[in-house]
Subunit: 207 residues, 2 copies
DNA sequence: CCTACCGATCGGTAGG
DNA sequence: CCTACCGATCGGTAGG
């Protein structure tokens, strides 16, 4: 098998995935159809399907790519910060920036996919749940570090902090996409900052 | 036109709407198909379509019904409470209860629909935006009353409170549906209570 | 509210 | 990676 052919196949494959992510971020993973992707890339349906076997395979590939983008855009810029509260603040910053820059044409891909598949059993839902749980665990781990460093109120549940940051991000996404609220990012930042408030002065027991 | 016929038609119509809401809460407003609803009700597609004209008409009817249910389940039980902070706490309570009782088989219908259509121009998106904006305005109005009564910190933006409550509700919905987090409701309650925190120092989160 | 039907598109396969 | 094709289903219409 000639080398060039395999390299070209990989290139075709990433073009399909890239296009699929764009389509699915607007019309959902279900609105992602093989025929549409094929048409937009000037390929045959069989040519597209050959790379993934089934529509579900294409959906999973698109999801993995989108998670990679999220990690690259939100986690990686913050990863080098000091673990604990400083890094959580850096993540918050990157997260809001990621939402504001409309990295995906249809808003946060992962949020949209999670909404769409949270009640439909199958590999797509499982992959979403796995990624989401991993992300929340990472946030909670940093919250635990912050807690031990005395950077969060003593009674704070680290998982509550992770839950709260994620909820705010979903809220910002909705406020931007559905309501076009120009204050969305600012509200998100105030809410995230409140979740990551230092324990002195205005002391609070919950999150 | 005989009376009985018209009454039966209305009854048929509500059966269609009811079934459509159930289907769409799991599979989305796009996954709602005329053929499926017809099949489940042992009707013809034309019989279903006759009541709404187009698929979009059916989607809008399902959405209106779901908004009515939300209002009935979340707003009405709290409506009689004292406007301001007490009523916001009652709404928070009803909202979490509504999520926990799985009033719709596929989780919060409005959240799911908003996620699905927030990037798709058209009447469905407009109806969603209108209802969402109205709900947030109602919450913000009560936050404003609370603020004037001295029940919220002086620098609070009432719209931020509305934004925060909505974000937490979305977070609870996701934590329940996608992650099956048994702590979801408790986290939501702690987060909402924090948003509605009394302003004085050394105040407990309860009240 | 039905039957009967329309063109379009769906996911997927056969065979090359 | 293509052409050619499959049965199923889509939203919607005609006519009653």
């Amino acid at each position: 098998m000639p080398r060039r052919s395999a390299a070209e196949a990989l290139q075709t494959r990433s073009a399909i995935v890239e296009r699929s992510v764009a389509v699915a971020s607007v019309d959902g993973l279900d609105g992602l159809t093989i025929g549409r992707v094929a048409g937009e890339l000037h390929m045959s349906k069989a040519g597209v399907l050959g790379h993934f076997g089934t529509k579900e395979g294409l959906q999973l590939a698109a999801l993995e790519a989108a998670v990679g983008t999220f990690t690259h855009e939100v986690w990686e810029p913050a990863a080098g910060a000091t673990p604990g509260r400083p890094r959580l603040l850096a993540v918050a910053d990157g997260w809001l920036s990621y939402l504001e820059r409309d990295v995906f044409p249809g808003g946060c891909f992962v949020t949209a996919a999670a909404c769409e598949f949270d009640d439909r059993p199958g590999p797509v839902r499982e992959a979403l749940a796995r990624h989401q749980a991993r992300w929340l665990r990472a946030l909670a781990a940093d919250a635990r570090v912050a807690l031990r460093a005395g950077d969060l109120p003593r009674a704070t549940d680290p998982a509550d902090v992770a839950f709260g940051l994620n909820a705010v991000a979903m809220g910002v996404n909705q406020a931007r996409r559905l309501l076009a609220d120009p204050e969305a990012t600012a509200r998100g930042w105030r809410a995230m900052r409140a979740l990551l408030h230092a324990p002195r002065a205005r002391r609070r027991t919950g999150v």
